[in-house]
């Protein structure tokens, strides 16, 4: 049994429920025969990937849905072997070069050259070029991006690239200027409500508009998350009403508990306890940025207005440190300690900032 997210994923441009003008634009690009390199960016859960898959289908017909997974082995200059997974159909190929970390340049160079140098042999194919979809393009190293830029120009008859990224900040300017930027905004809460309503209808579940609204609000305009929440509520409750509680994901619940502890007791002992919780989160592969961000917003909601900018300031500061440093736990702990300190100072009325 597939999850709702996968089962109800729209397969064609017509089936997409929101951003109609964007779908129209993609359709006309696909039909025009002159398809540029694309750089699709937007927050997660906004439907970037779904739109791209639908566009590919518009370009090549249903053939793109027959996908297979290959494992390829690449050899780096220092003779290290890299295993790399490629999802491909006859017409397109999907890669996540960030998987191989610093060696992504090797993969990009070898793989793209190989694709670019082979002509489309299938005469019935609608397009002469093959499309390579690169996931998480904003995690590519500078070297890999520099290697991309020449490839994009040199092999443009046989190859089109679609880059997917969460933000364009980490994409170097030469790449940005060579691609057509497509912004996919997150769906509004109204869009999410209507999507949930459609999902409920398709599944034959009872509708609860109030609940839909609450889910939309809770999900932070992330449709994937909204659908997962929606499904879990229906799975847990026999009868769903407008007031059914929305169970938060367990990691979020844990962070909530942590936040409560921090606020209740500000002492080295409690810091020690928080540390074990943070370790727990990290060993369950919750990204440190997510941990810090969620914790910050939970804390900010509970402190006085005057303190909020200060908390955000330090949170941003330590988040930056996390990105630069190598040992994540130091910076998370430092943030907690810092927060305890400013909160304590504030409570004791010795504000100096």
């Amino acid at each position: 049994m597939a999850l709702l997210v996968d089962k109800l994923r729209p397969r064609s441009l017509d089936a997409l429920t929101y951003h109609p003008e964007l779908s129209d634009r993609l359709r006309s690009l696909a039909q025009s025969g002159d398809f540029p390199h694309l750089l699709v960016y937007g927050p997660s859960g906004a439907g970037k990937k779904t739109r791209i898959i639908a566009t590919l289908k518009e370009l090549y017909g249903p053939g793109v849905e027959k996908i297979k997974i290959d494992a390829r082995v690449f050899q780096t200059t220092s003779n290290r072997k890299l295993e790399f997974n490629i999802v491909s159909s006859v017409y397109h190929m999907e890669i996540t070069p960030a998987d191989v970390g610093n060696y992504d340049r090797v993969v990009i160079q070898e793989l793209l050259k190989e694709v670019a140098q082979t002509q489309q042999v299938d005469l019935s194919a609608k397009q002469r070029f093959k499309i390579v979809v690169i996931n998480e393009a904003d995690h590519l190293t500078r070297d890999a991006q520099a290697a991309l830029r020449r490839t994009m120009e040199k092999y443009s008859p046989n190859l089109r690239l679609i880059l997917l990224a969460n933000s364009t900040s980490n994409i170097i300017a030469p790449i940005r200027s060579r691609t057509l930027l497509v912004r996919v905004a997150a769906p509004t809460e109204k869009d999410i409500c209507s999507a949930l309503r459609i999902a409920a209808k398709r599944e034959g579940w009872t509708e609860a508009d109030g609940l839909n609204k609450r889910i939309a609000k809770e999900s932070g305009r992330n449709l994937r998350r909204a659908l997962l929440m929606f499904e879990s509520i229906y799975a847990q409750n026999e009868k769903v009403t407008d007031t059914s509680p929305i169970p938060p994901p367990d990691w979020e619940a844990l962070i909530q508990v942590t936040a409560d502890e921090i606020l209740k007791d500000r002492s080295p002992a409690s810091l020690l306890q928080v540390r074990t919780r943070l370790y727990d989160l990290l060993t369950h592969c919750i990204p440190p940025t997510t941990v810090l961000k969620t914790l910050t917003f939970k804390l900010v909601a509970r402190v006085d207005d005057a303190l909020k900018p200060e908390v955000i300031k330090w949170s941003a500061f330590y988040e930056h440190r996390i990105k630069l440093g190598s040992k994540v736990i130091f910076h998370l702990e430092a943030f907690v300690a810092k927060f305890m300190r400013i909160y304590e100072t504030y409570l004791m009325g010795m504000m100096e900032f």
Binding site: S28, G42, P43, T168, S169, R183, A186, K293
Partner: protein, 390 residues
């Protein structure tokens, strides 16, 4: 006889759909060429708005002697175009291949390549021009040296650069080097002192405008009023970027047009004049392509940052920022636009501006390091709000 045969064949082909496909592919190849390449200046005179440099180079062209050169300046100001145009007019099509070696950052350019490929090319004896008539020589001076163009030289490693320096001197009889880079400070001193330097300044608006107008006319584009100004503004002195934006916009406008035509052709074969409703390029479409955040959104953010009585600005700012991030606007773009907005606001006293700019600088560094956009932007806006409150 033969002509009718071919005619018949052509006619038969025209009946089937294959001819349509052929003309389409031909159209494709011309259309697929980036306009940046298509409208690259062919001669030195075409290079826009670098009068000083082109004048000096014209003179060297007449004297048929060239120093080693170092071109530097911001991107999209015509450095590569200038050297390519110069090389073309020096050697012409017949000798271009044998006399020019062009290497850029995407080619492997470590110390090995410098020692091997560059040195070999620099060392090779000149191929004598044979079979060139007097007219050709009158047009192209064909001086007795080769040119090695190292594009984006600032991304070469220090080692590779120092390996170059002796090579440059030893073979200066038959080889000239031209280094092209953005930051002259990244070129090691021994190399820089061996070259005569040319600075390319940012394009002024009129020159860029003329060029964009030209391209629009040649491509038969319909532009809304103010599109050229928007392009120049979004390009920020980078003509290449402005041209790419123009092409993308034309694609979108044109794509909707051809898309409509195809659909119509299927339903109604007699509908032929699709050119009548050609897409018009609007200011908004350019801004969307460039990722510029619309003014109203920025207004609401600035509004939220204004001090309001005793209440903290936190809630107002946080709502706007959350929406901004969810809408996918790029944080770098936001920081840039907000900066311009704040710095040019007359009502903010200078002492506050000083502090605000400090916050901007720190945030820019964080974003480059890949810090989380939501937190960074929130921090920045809250700090500004705090400073504005005094």
């Amino acid at each position: 006889m033969a002509s009718t045969f071919f005619n018949n064949k052509a006619r038969a082909a025209a009946v089937s759909s294959s001819s349509k496909a052929k003309t389409e592919t031909k159209e494709d190849t011309t259309r697929q060429q980036p306009w940046v390449e298509k409208y690259r200046p062919k001669t030195l005179d075409d290079v826009a708005a670098q009068d000083h440099t082109t004048k000096v180079l014209q003179r060297t062209l007449q004297a048929s002697n060239l120093p080693h050169m170092l071109f530097y300046g911001p991107p999209g100001t015509g450095k590569t175009s200038t050297i390519l145009a110069l090389a073309k007019s020096l050697f012409g099509p017949a000798l271009y291949r044998s006399r020019i070696l062009e290497l850029n950052a995407s080619d492997e350019r470590g110390i090995g390549i410098v020692r091997d490929k560059v040195k070999n090319f620099a060392r090779a004896q000149l191929s004598q021009p044979t079979g060139l008539d007097a007219a050709y020589l009158a047009q192209h001076p064909c001086p007795p040296f080769k040119i090695i163009i190292l594009d984006e030289a600032d991304s070469m490693t220090q080692d590779a650069q120092s390996a170059l320096r002796r090579t440059m001197e030893t073979y200066s009889r038959i080889t000239r080097f031209c280094l092209v880079c953005n930051y002259v400070t990244r070129i090691i001193e021994p190399l820089a002192s061996r070259c005569s330097k040319f600075r390319f300044k940012s394009l002024d608006n009129s020159a860029a405008g003329v060029r964009l107008d030209n391209i629009a006319r040649m491509e038969n584009l319909k532009l809304e009023d103010g599109v050229v100004e928007t392009l120049i503004r979004c390009g920020e002195g980078d003509l290449r970027r402005a041209i790419t934006y123009l092409q993308s916009a034309a694609r979108l406008a044109g794509a909707t047009k051809t898309g409509g035509k195809d659909a119509d052709a299927d339903e109604d074969a007699e509908m032929t004049d699709a050119g009548a409703d050609q897409g018009i390029i609007t200011v908004r479409s350019i801004e969307e392509i460039a990722g510029v955040i619309p003014e109203p959104i920025l207004d609401s953010l600035v509004q939220a940052m204004q001090p309001k009585g005793g209440a903290s600005a936190f809630d107002a700012v946080s709502t706007v920022v959350t929406d901004l991030v969810a809408d996918g606007w790029s944080a770098t773009q936001l920081v840039g636009q907000l900066y311009r907005r704040v710095v040019f606001t007359e009502t903010i006293p200078d002492i506050q501006k000083n502090k605000i700019v400090l916050a901007f600088s720190e945030m820019d560094k964080r974003l480059v390091d890949g810090a989380d956009e939501h937190l960074s932007v929130l921090d920045l806006t809250l700090r500004i709000a705090g400073i504005l409150r005094g």
